[in-house]
């Protein structure tokens, strides 16, 4: 796969749920392109269509209109959807969705079944991936015996089982405490760097987005901003300034501008913490 070919190409993608009066337009003529090897964050208020977009990319659902190509394949013309789901993309869910009756190792083997023939090879591959996510010593634990962060790491290892070209993660740290959440993002970043896997991660958490190279902001089924991150602090401030919360703070406290210009780190930390806190509750973040 050449680096110049986009891993994702989405053209005028529309998804409508239901019909008539109760119809919901979850995606509205959305278009975007992601290059091979990119690490992209998708942000936006709850209900803006992030999960819907990810489901389309992973061929879990069919678009109402528009086209999606992943790794050069037109998803509307897929011959074997199961094969695509198993090999081309890897999915990480918010609630890990590990199978409770399977050990960590067996969970990782799930997507390998039907792909790799021999049992021994599957076992080796699973063991290797567990090592990769730092859980080599937990291979025979059941999900019920692992912490939240560990479960999510198993889920990431599972998404990598068939060395997919693209990993799709829908709020992978949404249910975790902040430390585990940072660990998960660091793991994803490391995978992106060392394996060259393209990653699209949906998140509410600004700090999570910081770990990525590009942030797509969505609103009402559309992408409203798309830019690359160069300096993390600068990006933080930009997002703060763009947010409703930030704008109202700035309007009320003109002196804040000074702090920003002078880059008073201590004060800024306070500000961003307050911003994080209100963004953590999706209701507030999503309300207009």
């Amino acid at each position: 796969m050449s680096n110049h070919q986009p891993i994702i190409r989405v053209e005028d993608l529309t998804k409508t749920y239901g019909s008539g009066e109760t119809a919901v337009r979850a995606l509205d003529e959305l278009s975007v392109e992601v290059q091979t090897g990119e690490f992209v964050a998708v942000m936006g208020p709850s209900g803006c269509g992030k999960s819907t977009l990810l489901n389309m990319l992973g061929a879990l659902d069919q678009p109402t209109e528009g086209k999606v190509w992943v790794a050069g394949e037109d998803l509307s013309k897929l011959k074997n959807v199961d094969q695509f789901r198993a090999k081309t993309v890897g999915f990480v869910f918010q609630l890990h969705n590990l199978l409770p009756t399977m050990t960590a190792q067996e969970n990782i083997e799930v997507p390998l079944q039907g792909q790799i023939g021999s049992r021994k090879e599957r076992r080796e591959r699973a063991a290797h991936l567990l090592e990769l996510v730092g859980l080599g010593d937990r291979s025979h634990h059941l999900p019920g015996q692992l912490s939240g962060g560990q479960r999510q790491r198993v889920a990431i290892a599972r998404s990598l089982a068939n060395s997919p070209a693209l990993v799709l993660a829908d709020e992978p740290s949404g249910a975790l405490d902040s430390q585990s959440s940072e660990e998960i993002m660091a793991l994803l970043a490391q995978l992106n760097e060392s394996q060259g896997t393209s990653i699209v991660v949906v998140t509410h958490d600004r700090r999570v987005a910081q770990a990525t190279q590009r942030v797509l902001r969505m609103q009402d089924g559309k992408i409203v901003s798309d830019h690359r991150i160069t300096d993390p602090i600068e990006e933080d401030l930009r997002m703060f300034a763009q947010s409703q919360f930030g704008q109202s703070l700035l309007a009320n406290n003109p002196s804040l501008e000074k702090f920003i210009q002078e880059r008073d780190i201590a004060t800024l930390r306070h500000l961003l913490q307050a911003y994080d806190d209100q963004a953590a509750s999706p209701e507030d973040a999503g309300s207009s």
């Binding site: 489901n55 789901r85 997507p111 999900p143 019920g144 599972r158």
Partner: protein
């Protein structure tokens, strides 16, 4: 609220309802049929315009009654008696007529008039028969045709109606013809008596009773069914229904437990907002009782339908015509309510006992609720998923296991019976044949004329013939005592190994089996009373066959006397001169004597109708178990895939094809059923072994034999159940859309 909770899981609720309905339907249909059988029999030969009916005292049913045809003269001499009309009443079984009642009366008698001719003319001489309206419906026959009974053709001269189904599915011959056809020479089944007008009926009855013959006198107007017989039928009906009830009950409990589990959070919320324990208990019980009451009503209709359907079975339908009494419907509804209460109490108690805090933090179906038990990492995924919901698996397999277990028990008993019958007297050497009357529905009805014995004895290849009379004594003192009449010098006598004492030498002596000695506490020198005659125990024998050991042996003539079958025997054991001649002799006997059937002794049992009807019952119960068990399996598997919806969605999202999920769920269903089959089989073996060891007279009769075939049937039943019950849930699971499934809560 109750109703809304039930409709929320419509498929599950309806399956549960169906399970209960089938249990109730079994109660209603079988109850009605048993009632119908009992009351129909009561009316047979009771509707005549004669006043009294006289049968043998010990006979359960007129068909089993045997009276000397000389008694008639003595009855005629009783003051107050105007008419004495002998009658023969028996069953006939032929290929075309599985249950055909044969009546024989004197031509022109009042008893004969009971059969009102609606077409043709009445019987006026030998070789003629009139048949009932219902019989013409099940066999294709009309006036002028010939009807063969045991090889003898009778010309149909008329068709009658009596308004009574069982009577109308039979035929009437003249007395002598009926005696010949039924091998009732010089004997009759019953006497109908017309009384002189004006005399006191009870005085006349008292005078008849004081004749001191073993007679039962009943007024035709008041004839009731035999209590014992009716109880037996009803017990039997309940026995079968109980299987359906048990399976349905476990299914019900399963469903309710499941519905409580999945609503744990909701219940926690209700408790947190101040609902009392009792209120929660009440709601859950209410749900379960509502469901079962609906099932009960539905089941009653289903039961009526089934009974009506059974009544249309050609040939046998008339026997299965249900009589519906309010009591039967009440029993059906009662069963449903008991099921609802029993099925709901545990779940309701569990729900009420939930602590609000725990209930609120419950996450059904997610990772944290599958904790590391001993077996949690053992075995395949199918096993682990069953282990994960052990209680449910246990309930479901208990239900299915009861069905499978019943089949295994019946199989074991049947095999045991076959084994015992094949070891009956006379089967000692390979060159043995056993001869009984052809086409009798019950072995105890077999009857062979002594002329046949003489003729077989005269065949050159035959070394010896041992005739035997078999009678069943069912009295409170001797429940199930099998009486054998056998010539003490006959070769078949060698079969009875003396454990103590000596063989019978006089008519007043009896040998008893070791079981009988034990259960009735009898020893050498004690006396035993049978049919008002006292016998001295002179020997105790062993044979290894339970019912032989549970009975006794009288001299042949003596037993013929007290059983009232002179010059007539039940079985013959034939020894041939050379074992290689057994087959040709068997064929020769069957050809020469169309009324009897000779079998190689070791194959005798398979040829009897007793075993055929046991096997028929086993098949019917198997069918019932299959239907109810299938519903339980389907219900359990549906619950199981509901709560794993997210997991199934995940598997789909990870690239598992639908087929793979289908096969996974099918495996689980099969495993569940196989577990049930094992539980049921083990349970059945333990239960029967325990029963057989109990020191009760009937217990010793149960000597089950375990054959691989029986267990093979249990396992096949389990496989069929697993496939049938698992298919719909598995198919549904494989069709789940990943996005929908992942959003499921």
């Amino acid at each position: 609220m109750i109703f809304r909770n039930l409709t929320r899981r419509a498929v599950r609720s309806s399956l549960t309802l169906l399970g209960i309905a089938i249990g109730v339907a079994a109660v209603v249909a079988l109850g009605a049929i048993a009632e119908g059988l009992a009351s129909n029999f009561a009316v047979v030969v009771g509707g005549s315009s004669n006043d009294l009916l006289i049968t043998q005292a010990e006979a359960l049913d007129p068909a089993l009654s045997n009276l000397d045809d000389t008694i008639g003269e003595r009855l005629q001499a009783v003051p107050g008696v105007e008419r004495v009309e002998p009658g023969v009443y028996t069953w006939v079984t032929t290929a075309d007529l599985p249950f055909f009642l044969l009546f024989g009366y004197e031509i022109g008698s009042t008893a004969m008039d009971h059969y009102r001719i609606v077409e043709g003319k009445p019987v006026s001489g030998p070789g003629q028969i009139v048949i009932g309206r219902r019989a013409t419906e099940s066999i294709d026959i009309a006036v002028g045709d010939n009807l063969r009974i045991y090889g003898t053709p009778y010309r149909v001269v008329g068709i009658y109606e009596t308004g009574q189904g069982i009577e109308e599915s039979g035929g009437v011959l003249m007395l002598e013809d009926a005696q010949a056809a039924a091998q009732f020479e010089r004997k009759v089944s019953l006497y109908e008596i017309g009384l002189r007008r004006g005399d006191n009926v009870d005085d006349t009855i008292a005078r008849i009773e004081s004749l001191d013959i073993d007679l039962k006198v009943s007024k035709t107007s008041e004839r009731e069914s035999n209590q014992q017989y009716e109880q037996m039928l009803q017990g039997f009906a309940w026995g079968i229904a109980a299987i359906a009830i048990f399976i349905g009950g476990f299914g019900m409990m399963n469903s309710m437990v499941m519905s409580v589990l999945e609503r744990t959070r909701e219940i926690g919320t209700l408790r947190a907002v101040g609902w009392s324990r009792w209120r929660v208990l009440w709601i859950i019980l209410g749900e379960s009782v509502t469901l079962s009451a609906l099932g009960g009503v539905f089941g009653i209709f289903l039961g009526i339908g089934l009974a009506k359907l059974a009544g249309t079975v050609p040939g046998m339908g008339v026997l299965l015509t249900g009589v519906f009494t309010p009591a039967i419907f009440l029993q059906g509804l009662g069963t449903a309510l008991v099921l609802g209460l029993v099925g709901g109490v545990y779940p309701a108690w569990r729900a009420a006992g939930l602590r609000p805090v725990e209930a609120l933090s419950y996450e059904g179906g997610t990772a944290s609720d599958f904790q590391a038990g001993k077996l949690s990492r053992f075995g395949s995924q199918s096993f682990r998923n069953l282990w994960r919901r052990r209680n449910r698996t246990l309930l479901a397999s208990a239900g299915i296991g009861i069905g499978v277990g019943t089949l295994v028990m019946l199989g074991g008993i049947t095999a045991g019976l076959i084994g015992q019958m094949n070891n009956l007297a006379g089967s000692g050497s390979p060159g043995n044949l056993t001869v009984m009357q052809r086409d009798v529905p019950d072995m105890s009805l077999s009857s062979i004329d002594e002329n046949v014995v003489r003729q077989i004895r005269a065949m050159p290849q035959v070394e010896s013939v041992s005739p035997m009379v078999l009678g069943v004594v069912l009295t409170p003192e001797l429940p199930l005592f099998i009486l054998h009449g056998l010539d003490p010098n006959s070769p078949a006598m060698d079969h009875y190994k003396l454990a103590a004492g000596r063989r019978v030498q006089r008519p007043s002596e009896i040998m008893i089996g070791s079981n009988a000695a034990e259960s009735y506490n009898l020893g050498l020198g004690d006396t035993l009373t049978l049919y008002n005659t006292r016998y001295k125990v002179v020997g105790i024998y062993e044979t290894g066959v339970a019912w032989e050991e549970g009975g006794g042996i009288l001299a042949l003539r003596e037993s013929q006397r007290i059983l009232n079958r002179p010059r007539n025997v039940s079985f013959l054991f034939v020894d041939v001169t050379d074992p290689s001649l057994a087959l040709p002799v068997q064929e020769a006997i069957n050809q020469r004597f169309p009324k009897v059937r000779a079998s190689i002794s070791s194959e005798f049992a398979q040829n009897t109708d007793d075993i055929a009807s046991m096997q028929g019952i086993a098949a019917a119960i198997g069918l019932l178990a299959l239907v109810v068990g299938g519903i339980v399996v389907a219900n359990t598997m549906i619950m199981s895939i509901y709560e794993r919806t997210r997991e199934i969605g995940t598997l789909r999202a990870l690239g598992w094809p639908g087929k793979r999920i289908l096969s996974q769920i099918m495996q689980e269903s099969l495993l569940l059923c196989l577990l049930s089959a094992i539980v049921g089989s083990v349970g059945a073996v333990l239960l029967l072994t325990g029963l057989a060891a109990l020191p009760i007279p009937g217990g010793a009769m149960l000597r089950p034999a375990w054959e691989p075939g029986t267990f093979a049937i249990a396992v096949s039943l389990a496989i069929v159940l697993g496939l049938a019950g698992g298919f719909y849930p598995a198919w549904r699971a494989s069709k789940l859309q990943p996005v929908e499934a992942l959003r499921y809560e």
